[in-house]
Symmetry: C2
């Protein structure tokens, strides 16, 4: 179960992932946002991974991992633990590749995420997030069946897959003759920010990748300050269900401590306003966890020089109707 | 006020519009939709003009018209009549070009649309849609001030601008080695379907463009059958506020009678379900009028051969919170 710290992904792994994902993922657009640009004085673009297959960026890493499972190992299946976006990513990739999938999912995960995971044909095993560890359950299930465990972030190929978000951002900006100064993205275990930072390492060396976290789950912020992986005090208490990892990943932190190193925080009320902003101004359905970077930008938590090029990643859109309505009417 | 039937736009006008709009509009993506493809047995893509500047395709035609107003005429301003999407398109284009704008808008237009039109700096003049004609009011305002009238659809440059939606669809599919068999788009006055049909005339001669209308406002369907422009019986009675034109445009019908000729209808309950489908499955905020083609597809109103390439245009996303919640909870 220990991550292979010796096998940290590189920007070459991200490029290889991009080749594997071409024609399978939705090549999500990079959208210039006039409203955000006016508000901030920067050139602001959004990268809506909400429009990705399964409604979040997680499909990228999952498919990049699963497509590399040897044919002989596929019948034994894959196992993952996730509150719902990695779950859907693994389930959808497994179905495309004809691999059986079992997902350990906390009982308090949004109903929509569980329904959609099951709709992709995966078996879902529930657990109580306060007393049980999803990764332990997934590890046991995988060992029992000889199945392949697909970690949500501490995996070379998963991180490389998520990094393709960064490559696409760089490619699209490059066509406009632009280089980004800031990319803000959500951080739970840190796979997305680690992948983006790797993608940008050689192509945009001055880029600031900002890890955006819900209040009370600022483990990246604290870990960047202390230099070691810090734990969150509680595992419950935010509706940003996608971002409630207990601490930064071991592999991801090895990458983010040097290549990211910057974080920002927003509380649930601010995230709720960002979800509403996305509804009104961007016409995009964004789930709370996916709206944290937008909230950080709107609340002025990310220092930005006038005229700089800023990208906000909207990482997922799998939100229950009730939660969405609560945001719109708050 | 009579449309210049002698000046019908051509596919060359659409190509010229595309050049004028490059770098000004959002180049909206063409998104492959796995969920819709599975449901229909076709290869279904959506074209989310919801992500366009101002939240609807109307910015294209408005900007293409306004940017061609001679500098000497600009200080006198522009005038338009619209329930809100053409209004925002004209207001936003006017602001970009430094032209004053006055918009005649019905009193029952969605509050969001009025607010957003005013936020772009336009002056809004309200009127009662049951007793007054917006185009008469706009015409009088324009005459009084020597301002340029910007018709919502019966204008060569407006139609040409909307047609760039079609060009982008053809370009993006062409990159995938595909040619569309069906493009479904909403029809109020018919500017969008006319423009798309013009764009496809030479490049995809077998393409079926389907004009999608709300029940009770099936003036295109009836006009295609009778061969003359038919009126809608009522001007109220659907929440698809963007599509309540009294009859097909004179210019647009000259184009659509030969190049479109096919229509489909959905009622408000079906449109409401389509808005919810877009929320859950596409993660896109679509207004009722913009969801009519999706409703027609979901309800099986558009005959589709298995495996064919189908594009659904989601033409706008300017929906009030209350209306959106009503759709999600219906």
């Amino acid at each position: 179960m220990n991550p292979r710290i010796d096998a940290l992904p590189t920007s070459a792994d991200v490029a290889a992932a991009a080749r594997r994902l071409t024609g399978v993922i939705v090549r999500t657009p990079l959208l210039y946002c006039a409203a955000l640009s006016e508000l901030t004085g920067a050139k602001v673009f959004v990268k809506p991974e909400t429009l990705q297959r399964t409604g979040s960026f997680k499909f990228r890493g999952a498919y990049n991992r699963l497509v590399q499972i040897p044919l002989a190992d596929r019948p034994a299946g894959v196992v993952a633990s996730s509150s719902g976006n990695h779950a859907q990513g693994v389930a959808a990739a497994a179905r495309l590749l004809g691999i059986p999938a079992i997902i350990a999912m906390p009982d308090d995960a949004p109903a929509l995420k569980r329904e959609r995971t099951e709709a992709f044909g995966a078996a879902v095993v529930g657990f109580d997030r306060r007393t049980q560890h999803g990764e332990d359950i997934a590890g046991a299930l995988a060992a029992e069946r000889g199945a392949t465990l697909v970690p949500p972030y501490d995996d070379t190929e998963v991180i490389a897959g998520q990094g393709t978000v960064g490559l696409e951002i760089l490619d699209d900006l490059s066509e406009l003759g632009l280089v980004p100064q800031v990319v803000a993205a959500a951080a739970g275990g840190g796979g997305l920010v680690a992948g983006i930072a790797l993608a940008a390492q050689s192509r945009a060396p001055g880029l600031r990748v900002v890890a955006c976290e819900p209040e009370g789950f600022d483990d990246h912020a604290r870990s960047f300050r202390s230099g070691v992986r810090e734990r969150n005090v509680s595992l419950v208490g935010s509706f940003c269900d996608a971002l409630l990892a207990p601490h930064p990943g071991a592999m991801t932190f090895e990458i983010t401590r040097t290549l990211v190193g910057e974080a920002a925080v927003a509380d649930d009320a601010e995230v709720s306003r960002a979800v509403t902003f996305a509804f009104r101004e961007l016409k995009l359905v964004v789930e709370p966890g996916g709206a944290v970077p937008l909230a950080c930008l709107l609340e002025g938590r990310i220092p930005i020089a006038p005229g700089s090029v800023v990208v906000v990643v909207l990482s997922g859109g799998n939100v229950d109707t009730e939660t969405f309505i609560r945001c719109l009417t708050a």
